[in-house]
């Protein structure tokens, strides 16, 4: 794979979250999701915000913390095959700027959602559970940890 390749980067996946314009694309896609949900007539505003929060966290959990490895072959013989995309960012260096951005954005979304659902208890439970599910795997202590052996191989 490194042959015919324009750079000496071993795993290009580590750089994707730092590329130009990806944070903006991420914000825009969350915005588009929200507008799509808002256009459905039966949902009230609190329900739409809770749905946005839950769907955003679910997709983030799936893409960053479930899918492992790289979609292409890397020249390091699969050293990162068992690592999720979050663990691959910047070769595992903790607290870099894209990691901070990706940790803060669910929190911002959660704050907005709590405001727009008027702090209703049922919505609160759902939103907090969803936020925790997406914040806990991002902690540095959880790097490489697989709880109960789920998603290990």
């Amino acid at each position: 794979m490194n042959v015919g390749v324009a750079h000496s980067e071993v795993n290009p996946n580590t750089r994707v979250m730092n590329s130009r314009g990806i944070w903006l694309a991420y914000v825009i896609s969350v915005g588009v999701l929200h507008i799509v949900l808002l256009s459905i007539p039966f949902f009230s505003i609190p329900v739409v915000w809770t749905l946005t929060n839950v769907i955003h966290n679910l997709v983030m959990y799936l893409l960053l913390h479930t899918v492992k490895g790289t979609p292409f072959e890397t020249p390091d013989q699969g050293k990162d095959r068992l690592l999720t995309h979050w663990e691959q960012i910047d070769y595992g260096t903790q607290c870099t700027s894209s990691r901070k951005f990706l940790s803060i954005s669910p929190v911002v979304l959660y704050l907005l959602t709590s405001f727009y659902t008027k702090y209703d208890p049922a919505h609160f439970v759902v939103n907090t559970a969803s936020l925790l599910s997406v914040l806990l795997p991002k902690l540095p202590q959880f790097h490489g940890v697989r709880v109960f052996g789920i998603n290990k191989y």
Binding site: S8, R15, G21, A25, I28, T70, P71
Partner: protein, 518 residues
Amino acid sequence: INHIVHNGGLYKRPFNEAFEETPMLVAVLTYVGYGVLTLFGYLRDFMRQWKIEKCQNATEREEQKDFVPLYQDFENFYNRNLYMRIRDSWNRPICSVPGAKVDMMERVSHDYNWTFTYTGRVIKGIINMGSYNYLGFAQKAGTCQEAASKVLSQYGAGVCSTRQEMGNLDKHEELEKLVARFLGVESAMAYGMGFATNSMNIPALVGKGCLILSDELNHASLVLGARLSGATIRIFKHNNMQSLEKLLKDAIVHGQPRTRRPWKKILILVEGIYSMEGSIVRLPEVIALKKKYKSYLYLDEAHSIGALGPSGRGVVEYFGLSPEDVDVMMGTFTKSFGAAGGYIGGKKELIDYLRTYSHSAVYATSMSPPVVEQIITSVKCIMGEDGTTVGEARVQQLAENTRYFRRRLKEMGFIIYGNEDSPVVPLMLYMPAKIGAFGREMLKRNIGVVVVGFPATPIIESRARFCLSAAHTKEMLDTALKEIDEVGDLLQLKYSRHRLVPLLDRPFDETTYEETED
């Protein structure tokens, strides 16, 4: 921004290098494109797994399903869902010598590029903008070919032995003396394969306890050679002299990682022209740094030998420097000389050492005699020693072609990377769909181009790369430019807002994280 660097008199001519930044809208749309492709990839995989769609890939047999799988199918995701769709832009079968024009066998696919069938027609006269044919020596008739066929009948096709055993012919000695004279160095040695020249000789030069400072965008052969040597590798930003100086200072001040002992050797690995960016190395500054910090320089002139410089002697002549400043001058015969193989030039002690200790000299077969004769004839032609001015004319024609082509493309409004004088012209495409579209549209208009995308380039920087040749006449270039203009309008590729930045300001500039060696 004034991007012409004079830098205190180190440069004798203006150094015009520019990389325009990706427009933000284009970057966002590129990510959307990859996102859509990924979603559809998952959908198709789902359909294939549940047998709704036929799986055309190789799969395991039923009996093997319970064993541990040999390959992980996620690693093949990109290959089967993105690459397969645009696969017809690569590995096209040609049936003539790849000179300025090439003939190609037409092929069609009825199942979306999983299999190809040949229609039987041969498309003749495709303008070839993809071959590394810088001086136009890829010909099937001419002085080089006659000399090579004479040598073929005299010496045979192969040598069947290594240089150190029985494979050292008088032709090899003649070639090495000629190459040394061409480069202006004391001595040179030639090897059968350009890739192997790098990967087998860097381990002979540096070992454990040495430091290698290599450019970010170095070729796979240099990376492999550096890894095989066992030395510590540190990477500096592409063509960024501040980054290189910082690394040199840190290395000398702090020494080796735990023991703090001084490094045995510091070797700087750079290339003359970087083939994916079209940028030329800032050689005067690198040599000034090398002298100041007393390290060694390994210059890989694979693309720049024959293509730069007033008489084609490479990037050292282009900047007006002395070849004695570069410790190891490496190059290949594949690009400008129409042959195969590589060489290393330098001081006599260095080359004598390599003759004994290089892996290629001891284990690899030596170069085949007709190929050696082709190189000898083409080098003599470039130097003018065969009595004609053909070589000089070709070098000048290449320089004119380069300037003309780049100027016209810039005027049309495309984003072009690289230095004004490099014959490698990357034209930015950015979006994944445009990679396939550009390749196919250009083929419909009888022009063959090379396109590259992720993961061979960074995710938002897919490009089409044109390699100019001295064999291209102005009419061919005009035809090509007209077609590129049309395709550019059709695919909306004219992104340039003429805002140029002098250095390749990759978004992850100060904070680059590297793979730690454990």
